[in-house]
Symmetry: C2
Subunit: 458 residues, 2 copies
Amino acid sequence: MERDQEINVLREQVRSVTADIIRDVQKRMELARQIGEIKSRKGIEVKDEKVEQEIRNMVLSVSSQAGMKPDFALRLLNILLEESESVQAESRQKPQRQTHLGIFMKAKQMEADGKEMIHLEVGEPDFPAPSAIATSLSESFKLKRYHYTETRGIPKLREAIAKRDSVTEDRIIVTPGGRFAVFSAIVSLLKPGNELVVIEPAWPAYKECADFVGARTRVVKASLEDNWVPDLKRLEELISPATQMIVLNYPNNPTGKILESKTIDKIISIAKDNHLYVLSDEVYADYAFEMRFQGLLEFGYDKTIMVSSFSKRYAMTGFRVGYGIAKPEIIKQMNKVQAVGITSVAEPIQYAALAAMDQGHGDNVKIMKERIDFVCSRLKDMALPFAKPDGALYVFPRIARHEDLELVDRLLEKGVALAPGSGFGDSYTNHVRISACQPVETLGKGLEKIASVIRERS
Amino acid sequence: MERDQEINVLREQVRSVTADIIRDVQKRMELARQIGEIKSRKGIEVKDEKVEQEIRNMVLSVSSQAGMKPDFALRLLNILLEESESVQAESRQKPQRQTHLGIFMKAKQMEADGKEMIHLEVGEPDFPAPSAIATSLSESFKLKRYHYTETRGIPKLREAIAKRDSVTEDRIIVTPGGRFAVFSAIVSLLKPGNELVVIEPAWPAYKECADFVGARTRVVKASLEDNWVPDLKRLEELISPATQMIVLNYPNNPTGKILESKTIDKIISIAKDNHLYVLSDEVYADYAFEMRFQGLLEFGYDKTIMVSSFSKRYAMTGFRVGYGIAKPEIIKQMNKVQAVGITSVAEPIQYAALAAMDQGHGDNVKIMKERIDFVCSRLKDMALPFAKPDGALYVFPRIARHEDLELVDRLLEKGVALAPGSGFGDSYTNHVRISACQPVETLGKGLEKIASVIRERS
C-alpha cells in the first residue's frame, strides 16, 4: 500500500510533465507556423540546413547535460522538425523531380501506346544472360527447388560468392537485387534522426532509403570541373554526431568515375575517425575499362558493407538478385530486414545466379567499353563537355543550360529516353545521363536525335 | 532585413522551447525509471494498459485545449511510452520467444548435420507446383523475359488477377510473396507512434512490420474457449485516435478459423466509425473446407487492403510471389515502398505465376482437407483439445501445460519440428501449431512421436 502510494505520486508527476511537453510542442509548432508564413511571404525555402544543424547541436548539448541518450534526443528532434516542415510546407508546391526510373515508366507507357522508343535511360545491359541459366531453371523445376530457403540464401550460392570475393560465407547475404542490400543496410543501421553522407551525383536510391527510415541525407557535390573527385574537406565538415554512414559508388553511376586508392584511403580514415559505416555500392565493379577496380573490401575497414549484383555483370537485371558482404554482426542486422520483408530470394533465381557464376560473363565488358568509346566520340562531335568514364555503363555530359527536364521531355517526343541529371542531385539540371546499354547502331540513332534536338534548342 | 530580424527572434524562441521539451522528456524518463525500480522490487509487470489509457485520455484533452492534432499528440506520446517501457524493462529479462521460422532454421541446421526431420513447423505445401511453370520458365529465358518490369508487375499478370478477383487492374500490386504486400501496406500506411490492432493468435509478421516502422501493436486475444472468435467489445476498447489499422487473417493461421459474415460486418463497421484501414491477409482463402470463404473485398469497404499469394494456393512458396489489392491511392503508397526496396518482382517469376493461374491448383484443397481431418482424428485420440479448422493448413491444439518451447525442443531431438504456440502470441504457451503440409503417412509418423513425447511428459 505504501509502495502503491509511492508509485501514485510518481505517476502524478509523470502526468504533469507529460502535459508540459505537449503544451511546449504545440508552442513550437505555432512558432514554426509563424516562421513558415514569413518564409512564404519572402519566398525563402522551407528547409534550412544550417539552422537545422545549429538546433541539432543545441539538442545534443542539452540532452547530454540532462543525461539523455543522444540518439533518442535526435530521434525526438527529428519528429519535431518533420512536423514543423510539414506545417511550413502545407501551402507550398513541391519542386518537380524526375528520376531515370520515372522516365523509364513514362517511356514504357508511350511504347505501350504504340510509340517507338530508344532506351538510353536505364542501366539495363541488352546482352543475353548466361545460357547456363536455361538448364538451371528447368532443373530447378524438376528437382522441386522452389521452397523457402535460408533467409541469407542457399549455402551453395553463398559459398560460390565467398570464393569469388575471398571472404567467409558468414559475411554474405543474397538479396533480391543489389537494391535490397542497399535498402536493408541503410534501414537496419540508421535510425530516425541519423544522417547519411552521399556524394552527388548519385543513384537516388540511397537518399530514398534514408528518407524511408527517417534519416537525413547530407550531400557532397562533386563536379565535372573537378573531374568528379569529391572535396574531402567538405565531406569532413558535414560529419556530425548524428552521422552514421558514408555511401560510395564507384565505378560511379552516373559519371563512370573510379576514385584513386589514395582518395579512398582518406575517406576510410575519415570514416574510422568518426566510427562511420561505409556502404560501397560496387554493382559496376566489373565494368572498369582503364584499370583494375580495387573494391572496398581490399581496404580492410571492418565497418564496410559492400554491395554487388548479378544484374549488370551478367545482364540479369530482371532476375532481381544481388548480394551484400560485411562482417557477421552487420549481415545479421540486414538479415532481420530481409526476414521481415521477403523471407528469402526465390530459390530458382538463386540457382540461376549460381549457374551464371559458373559460366562467367564473356565479352560483356569489352563490348561495353567499345560502346562507351563510341558515345564519347559522338559527344565530342556535339561539343558537349564530359569526363571520359573509367567504368560503368554511362556517360554524363553537361548541356548548355539548366534545362534537363525540358530536354528529356522533348527527346521523349522524338522517341529517345534519357535520364535527367537532376535525378542524381538537385544541382545537376545541366546534365543528362546517357546509358550505353544498346548496340552501337541504336546508340548512333539515339545520339543523332539528341544532336538534332540540341541544335534546335541552341 | 527587418523580416530576417523577425525570423531570428522566432528562431530563438524555437530553440528555447526545444530545450525545454528535451529537459522535460528527460525528467519524464527519470520518473519512469523510478517507477520501474519500484515495479521491479514488487514484481509488477512493466506494461499497465489501464495507466496508459488514462494518460492517453489526459494527452488528448491537453492537446485539444492547446490546438494540437490528436493523432500527432498520440504519436508523440507513444514514442515517450515506448522509451519509458524500454527504460523500465532494461534491467529485466525478456521472455524467450521462438517463431515457426526460427524452429524451421534450427531444423534445417539439424538436417544439414545429418539428422532426419519431419517438418510440421512451416506452412509449405509439399504438392508439386503447376507443371505449366516448367514451360513458362524456359520460354521466359528464350524470349529474354528477364528485365526490369513495371514496379507494380507486368500488365498480363495484373490483368489475370483483376479478372480472378473482379477488380480493376489499377488496384493490384504484384509483390515478392504475400509477406511483402503486408510489409509495404503496414510500413507505408503507419507512422511511428501509430497503432495497429492484431487479433491473436497471429502470424508474427504483422507485429514485426509494425515494430519495423515504430508503430505499436495492440492485441485482442482470442481463445479456444470462444472457438477463436475475437471479443469485439475488447477490440473497440483498444481503438484510440492513434489507431490506423486492424489486421484480419482468415482462414486463420494458426487456428484455421473462418469468421462468420456478420462478425466481419461488425468489424468493418468499427473500422468505418474510426476511419481505420483493414488489412486482410487471405493467403489461405482457397483452403476453406466447410463453406465458401467470403473475402473482405466482397464487403466493399474502401480502406481494405487484401493480401493474397501464390505460395499456398499453388504450392509455390519458393517462387516468392504474391499480391495486394486495394484502392489506387493505397496501391500507390505500397508501390513506393516496393520501388525503394526491390524495383519489381523478377520477370520470369511473374510469368511463372501467370502460367500457374492458367493451369489452376488441381486437387490441393481436397488433399489438404483429408490431411487436416487425419490430424484432427489423431489429436482426438491423444485427448488434446482443439477447434476443428474451417480452413488453412494447420491445427492448433492445446497442450496440458504452458511449456510449448520445452515440448518443441524435446520433439526436435526426436526428429519432429513443430511451431510453438508462443510464436503466435505471448499467451499461447500452452498451444502448438501442427502444419499438415506432408503426406498422411509422414503426418502419422510425426503425430506418433508427438503422442509419445506427450505421454512421457505427463
